[in-house]
Amino acid sequence: MNVGSADALSPNEQEAVAEVIDNEAIIIRVSDGVYYSLDKTGGFIWQLIQQNGKVSDIVDAVTRCYGIPQQQAHADVLRLAEELVRERLVCVSPNAGPNAPPAALPAAPAGATAYETPRLNVYSDMSDLLALDPPAPGMSDLAWGPTDTEPAPAGTARTEPA
């Protein structure tokens, strides 16, 4: 799928769970156990995607943050976005338009002056192991939650180390 400058990107929450730590994104595609990392520039871009950023806004942010030509940022962001879409990690909202709320950009990562072409690292070792197993249910499939519970019996307080 081609991604355009006017499109908005957002994490595909049906397929992927992700967290950012030390400006690096760790993403897991839960349907098959393939997992990914995005370091440095890629981690910064993922944080912008988490804020449902428009591609053009992401390009502007990368250009400003790293002081690189906009043309280069545009090409790199589009290439990464298309790869993320192909891997089903990101959803595209076509032509988000001028009325889309502006994304609140995350702070530039420390030491972000050194630009590196964003790269999606793909790890399929878990997927190989899980290939013969069907997808397991997630806790979200068990919609009932402890808030629905009858109260735990009295006198069953937890004991834990101090």
Partner: protein
Amino acid sequence: MSASGPHATTCGAATPDACAARFGRMCEVFDAVRKRHADHVRVADYRFGGRPVRIQVAGAALSDRVARAFAHLAAAPPESAAPALRIDVWDEEATGVACPLTGPEQCAAAHVWSVDHGVFTASEDGSCIGFCCDGAFTMFDRRRHRIVGCRPSAGRLSRAELSKPFRILLSVWYHDNDIHMFHAGLVARDGLGVLIPGRERTGKSTVALSCVNAGMDYAGDDFVGLRRRADGTFVGHSMYGSACVALEHLARFPGLEPHALEDKAVLYVSDLYADRMKASVRIAALALPCIVDTERSRVRPARRPDVLLRLAPSTLMYVIPRPERQLMRLMRELVERTPCFVLELGSDLASIPVCMADILDRAASS
């Protein structure tokens, strides 16, 4: 609720009432078994994740098997009449009482998944879940805080049932109690624990057994519970007192090898080191095991993204049901707050506990 994945299906008996009725039949049969075989019912109290749990097992041999996996969590009965969870299970062969539900009835639920060589079921509202595997059948009514099940014979338990009884349904109970099952080992010294995450065959069990052999405390080799406290610190809870080690690796522990259950490679660590078992400890460090081609083991600091990259996929994909987004966030918080190390595992087992002591020293001073 929507079922996930191509293997999730919907079939008959979908209503919560139908699930409750099947659960009720299981409870009725267990209660009858308990009365008829009162002399062979063992009632034992434990604390799982710090909460009181009562297990009643009908059948002497099955009772022994279950008790060994949880022996280190034994506790006095709760002050109130009812525990936070009740688990009732009977041995069909020993009691002469068959499961009241046929195979198709066991699998009849609003949602059905094939998982872990068995079938996992859930009622429409998710309040009643079940798991059947190799003829063993167990249901969990989350509203009533009760698990009930039966096993064909204590002599034909699978390795999973021997080492980690009720694991899949208990993971849901722990989740309901704000404790999340992690795919990791856990050892400790002076109440401070080192979490050892990693996939199969990365050395988790070797590290855990080397440490307990050398005098450290033990809380698990494969699956442990973690809870984040209000102050942001993490507590690790032991779930099982067993260890599973490939037979070829067990040979590296001459003192332990004779104690493994024959051909199952299941070891009840609590049988051997009762005084070294820990029910819960504060998490002080994470150690990523990494097998290297050297003699001596070594420790080096780990990058936090690398730790999350190892910890998260292994836990999210191996723990059933999958814990998903909430646990991913919890893991990130754990890694951010906890000193992380790589433990390069050499061939000399004696150097492993030395490294773990070093990790705890470094964590204490960080």
